[in-house]
Amino acid sequence: MLRVEGLGKRYGRRWALRRASFEIRKGEAVGLLGANGAGKSTLIKCLLGLLRPSEGQVHLATEASYLPEQPQLPGALSPLAMLRFKCAARDWPREWAESALQASGLAQAAWERPLRQCSKGMQQRVLIAWTLCGPDSKLMLLDEPMSGLDALGRAEILSLFQQRKDSGSAILMCSHIVPDMVRLCDRVLLISGGLIREEIALSDHSLVEAEMLEERLVRWQ
């Protein structure tokens, strides 16, 4: 679904990302793990074309949806209006907006409430609905998707992403919450100083693996 070859981004003389190469196949979830400023968001933005790569190539063979890290949503609009806009822009059925909101777990009472009146957690669910809205099989690029959610909400959303993954979607997720990443992802790319240092396959999705990842992360800092 996604192939990245030698991707890099330079700001002046400083490389924020360098020689990133990896592949994500259908039904696969890949985690991007790194400290602040390691180059995770830069990588995702290069994939989407929000940042112009300084080197390398991106081959995207499917629909991609993006969940940015904490954007400010249009406060005057309702969640339903936002999702309906996405459906209208793509000529998708309007009902997909309702389905995505339903799937995100946002209470129906909040669907038509102005976003400025929604809590941070509710807004995060709207963003998740925004990402889910669309065809089942696609690539989802998630930048800190669990931000602002409580433990229960995180578990719900993780199982939702797991369902999407099982139905053929591919996921690239960057997060600071290592246990969440371990639960969902099949592989983790450890990124530090703009370079992908290690690619670690996860097998049993256990807390032991989470601890091992944290140790590796510390080692690369």
């Binding site: 940042l51 949806s65 954007p71 400010q72 609009l77 822009a89």
Partner: protein, 265 residues
């Protein structure tokens, strides 16, 4: 088109915009109070006040609604979401522009309707003191005053994609607005035969070129003419419309070119 509708809906649901619409309905009637102080010619004074109100409303819209919305889009990553739909950056800018331009129409329309009603009331109450031909003067004048603000909106888009944040955008937009109000009248004064005669030829050519190039966003002369029922020639009106629409178009095209190359970090 979807983003244009989305933009219009977003603006329309904004509390400040709804207050502006209410103000457009009420202000023409409230202006009857200061207007009653000028009993010599109620129509002209009313037209002057209405044009001033329209300037205030549209400038308020551009500075306090359009600018924060666009700056927020870029600073707070709303455009990341919208672009990920996906859509091209040019489509994004054009749709946002058209949506905001469309949002100016209800303000102008409401002001027009309310002022027409106020004027009919004035003409009915004090027919001897009312001379302005309302049928075409005020409505057309109001529509013409919209054009400079379409150009200013275009300038706003260019500034927002070049600037690093909302404060910088506000400063530059204010500068453009101020210069476009103040410089053209000065240049026009310099072009008068008695002044031009004392000017070196090279300087005169430069002033003349600047006068042709710089947009006069104030529309002060036009407002004054219309308010006094002196109609500019049709070719002047056409030139006026073309000038402002061209500035809007040029600014928007430059904004698109810049935005296509800009990193959205």
């Amino acid at each position: 088109m979807a983003l244009m509708r989305f933009t219009f809906t977003e603006v329309f649901h904004h509390r400040a915009y709804q207050l502006m619409m209410l103000a457009c309905l009420l202000l023409p009637w409230l202006m009857l109070v200061p207007m009653s102080l000028f009993l010599l010619d109620l129509g002209k004074v009313l037209a002057d006040l209405l044009f001033t109100t329209e300037h205030m409303m549209l400038a308020g819209f551009v500075f306090f609604m359009a600018l924060p919305l666009m700056a927020r889009d870029i600073e707070q990553k709303v455009c990341h979401l919208l672009l990920s739909v996906p859509m091209s950056r040019s489509t994004y800018l054009l749709s946002r522009y058209l949506g905001m331009a469309a949002a100016m129409l209800p303000l102008t329309g409401l002001l027009l309707l309310s002022s027409a009603a106020a004027f009919v009331f004035v003409a009915y109450q004090w027919p001897d003191y009312t001379t302005l031909d309302l049928a075409w003067g005020v409505p057309l004048g109001e529509m013409l005053l919209l054009l400079p603000y379409l150009a200013l909106l275009g300038a706003l888009f260019l500034i927002v994609v070049l600037a690093s944040g909302s404060s910088e955008s506000m400063v530059f937009l204010f500068s453009v607005w101020l210069l476009s109000w103040s410089v053209p009248p000065v240049l026009e004064a310099l072009m008068r035969p008695e002044v031009a005669a004392k000017m070196p030829h090279g300087l005169f050519v430069l002033v003349q070129a600047l006068e042709y190039m710089l947009p006069d966003l104030s529309s002060a002369r036009l407002s004054l003419d219309v308010a006094h029922a002196h109609w500019p020639a049709p070719e002047m009106l056409l030139a006026y419309a073309c000038e402002h629409l061209s500035y809007a178009g040029i600014a928007l095209i430059l904004a698109m070119l810049r935005f296509e190359r800009r990193d959205l970090a």
